[in-house]
C-alpha cells in the first residue's frame, strides 16, 4: 500500500481528485439559494476574502510542486524545482543573506545568497518551505477525500434512519473516539509504514468522527423539518431524500468543518514528526522542519531561520484557514459570529 502511495503520479492524481470533488461540491452548492446568499455576504467580508486569497496562493505553490517535468537524466523535477534550479546548494547551514557558511571548522564562501539561509544539508530554506506546501496540501487533500465522504455519509445515515443504523454508527465512532487519538495515529502509522498516503489514511480514520457527529445532529434537526415530511409524503425514495434534500442542507457544515479541520491536520503533522512517525526522508514538511529545530535551538549562533520559516508558513496557512472558516460560518449563518 505504501509503495502505491509513494508513486508521485498516484499522489498527484489523488490531490487532483480531491480538488475536483471540491469543485464539484461548490458547483453543486452554488445552485442553491443559500449558497448564493452566502457568497454575496462573503464577498463583502474583507478578512474572509484576504484569507481566501492567501489560501489560494498556498494552493498555487503546492500545485507548482506537485506537477512533475520528466528529465532526460536523473529523476524528474517538479515545476517548482525547475523554477528554482538556479538556487545553488551549499554544504551545510548558512544564515539568511550570509556570504559565508555557518561552518564547523572554517567559514567558507557560499555559492550564492539565500534569502532565508540554508538547512543542515545546505538546501535553501525558502525553497524547502515552499516545497513543503505540497506536503501540507497533499495531507489535507487526501485526508479529506477519505474522511469527508465517510463522515458525511455516516452522519446522514445515522441521523436519517435512526434506530439500529444510528446505534451501530454511534457505537463505531464512540469506540474510535474512546482511544486517545494520538495513540491511534501512531499505531496505524507504525503498522502501515511512514508516508504521505498512510499518514492521510490514519488521519482520515481519526478525523471522521467529529464530522460524523456534527452531521448526525444537523440531519436529525433537518429531518424534523416539514420539507422532509413532505418529500416522504410524496413517496420519494430514501436515497432521493438523502441525496437531494438532506445532503444539500448539511453541505455548508461540511465545508466549514473541512476548512477548520484542515488547520488541525497541518498541526497534527508537526506533532507526528516529533513522535518519529512524520513524513518520510526526502519529503520536506513544516513539521519535520520544526522538529529539526528542537536541536538547532541549542546551537550558537542560533539557527533560527528554519524554525521561523516553517512556523511562519504554517502559521500563515492555518491562520488563513481559521479566518476563512470563520468568514464562511458568518456568511452561512449571519446571526451567529
Amino acid at each position: 500500500m505504501n509503495a502505491l502511495f509513494e508513486n508521485l503520479w498516484v499522489q498527484n492524481t489523488l490531490v487532483l481528485a480531491g480538488l475536483a470533488v471540491w469543485a464539484a461540491l461548490l458547483v453543486h452548492g452554488s445552485r442553491s439559494e443559500r449558497w448564493r446568499r452566502a457568497w454575496l455576504r462573503l464577498r463583502k467580508d474583507r478578512v474572509g476574502m484576504i484569507s481566501g486569497c492567501v489560501i489560494a496562493l498556498y494552493l498555487g505553490v503546492g500545485a507548482l510542486e506537485s506537477f512533475q517535468i520528466p528529465q532526460p537524466t536523473g529523476p524528474s523535477l517538479s515545476v517548482l524545482g525547475w523554477m528554482t534550479r538556479g538556487v545553488p546548494r551549499e554544504k551545510s547551514y548558512s544564515a539568511p543573506l550570509a556570504r559565508t557558511s555557518l561552518s564547523v571548522a572554517k567559514p567558507e564562501p557560499l555559492k550564492g545568497r539565500h534569502l532565508l539561509g540554508t538547512d543542515a544539508l545546505g538546501n535553501d530554506t525558502l525553497v524547502q518551505t515552499l516545497r513543503a506546501c505540497r506536503t501540507a496540501l497533499a495531507i489535507g487533500g487526501i485526508t479529506s477525500l477519505i474522511y469527508i465522504p465517510l463522515g458525511t455519509l455516516m452522519g446522514i445515515l445515522a441521523g436519517y434512519y435512526r434506530r439500529w443504523v444510528d446505534d451501530v454508527i454511534q457505537y463505531v465512532y464512540s469506540t474510535l473516539a474512546s482511544i486517545p487519538s494520538i495513540l491511534l495515529l501512531v499505531s496505524i502509522l507504525m503498522a502501515l509504514g511512514k508516508g504521505l498516503g498512510t499518514m492521510s489514511v490514519a488521519l482520515g480514520v481519526t478525523s471522521w468522527v467529529g464530522l460524523c457527529r456534527l452531521i448526525r445532529g444537523e440531519t436529525m434537526r433537518q429531518s424534523e423539518r416539514p420539507y422532509v415530511a413532505a418529500a416522504r409524503a410524496l413517496g420519494q425514495s430514501h436515497w432521493k431524500i438523502v441525496l437531494h434534500h438532506l445532503l444539500p442542507n448539511v453541505l455548508h457544515l461540511v465545508v466549514i468543518n473541512f476548512v477548520l479541520g484542515f488547520s488541525g491536520l497541518v498541526l497534527t503533522e508537526a506533532i507526528l514528526s516529533y513522535l518519529g512517525v512524520g513524513t518520510p526522508v526526502g519529503t520536506p514538511s513544516w513539521g519535520s522542519m520544526i522538529d529539526g529545530a528542537r536541536s538547532e535551538f541549542s546551537r550558537e549562533p542560533l539557527v533560527w531561520w528554519n524554525l521561523t520559516s516553517a512556523t511562519g508558513a504554517l502559521f500563515g496557512l492555518v491562520l488563513s484557514l481559521n479566518l476563512f472558516g470563520d468568514a464562511l460560518r458568518r456568511a452561512f449563518d449571519p446571526k451567529k459570529g
Binding site: 474512546s178 506533532i271 520544526i290 528542537r294 535551538f297 492555518v318 481559521n322 451567529k336
Partner: protein, 324 residues
Amino acid sequence: MFNYLIRRLLYAIPILLGVMLISFVLSFVVQSPESRARMQLGQRATPKSVAAWLHQRGLDKPRFLNTAKDAPLLDSQFFNHLGKLVTFELGVSDVSGRDLKEVFREGALPSLLITLPAFLGGLALAISLALYQVFVRHSLADSLGSILAVALMSVPAMVYIIFGQAVIALAFNYFPAFGFDLSGWSTAKFILLPVALMAVMGLGGDVRLFRAIFLEEIAQDYVRTAQAKGVSNARLLFVHVLKNGMIALITLIVAQLPLLVMGSLLVENFFGIPGLGNTLVLAIRQGDHATVFASVYLGAILYLMGLILTDICYALVDPRIRLS
C-alpha cells in the same frame, strides 16, 4: 435519572470491549512479539533468549482461539489479556517488570499537578479574556483580540515549548528549564512554566469559544430588561451574563476533566516530568506494549467517564432529561 445513568453505564461496556479488540489487533500489526522481544533484549540478543522472553509472557500462545487438542479454547493471548483487564489486573511492564498499577499511581500525581492547574488557570484566563472582549465588544481591542486568539491557535505546540524553554527559563532564569521533584511547596518552581505554557497553548481556542457563548448570552432578552432597569454594564456582565454563560460552559468542558489524569505528551516530555504522558511516550519508543495497552484502556475508561459526567451535568441543568 437513575435509570438513565444506569443505561449510559451499560452502554459503556461494549465500547470498552471494542477498544480492547482494536488496540489488541493494532498492537500485533504494529510490532510482532518477536520484534518486541528483540527490542527489549537489545542488539546482542540470541534466538534462545528471544524464545524464552516470549514464553515467559505467554506470547507463544495462539492469538484468539486456542485450537490445540488438550488446551481450553479460550486460553489464548486475547482472552487472557481481556480477563486481566476486566479484573483491573493491569499486569507488569514489558520492559522494567514494574507493577503497572504502581506505575500509574506514581505517574498520576505529577500529571495532575501539571494538567489540573493548567486546565483551571487556562479556564480562568480564557474566561477573563473572553469577558474582557465582550466588555469592550466591537472595539478595536475586541477585533484584535479575536485575531490574536486565532493566531494563538495557529502556532504549533512545540514552538511554544521551545520558546518557553529557551527564553523564559534560560535567558531570564525565572524557572528551572527542566526537571521535577515532588518535595512539597518547592515543587511549584518546576510546574509553573509548563503549566503556564500549557494554559497558553489552549487559550486561543477557548477564548474564541467562550466569547461566542457570552455574546450569545448578552443578546438574550433578560439582559435587555436588566439594562432598561439601569443595571450597570459591568454588573450585568460579571454577574448575570457570567453566571448564565457558565452553565453552558461547564457542560462543555466537564468531559475533559477525567482525561487530565493522562497528562500531556509534549509538555511532560520536554520538561522531564515523570507523569503518565511521559510514561506513554517512553513505552511507545521502547515497544513496551503492556504499558501502552493499559494506557489505552485507562484512557478509554476516563473518556467514557467524561461522557457520563457530561450527561449528569446536562441532566442537572435541563430537567426534561430527568424524565426520559
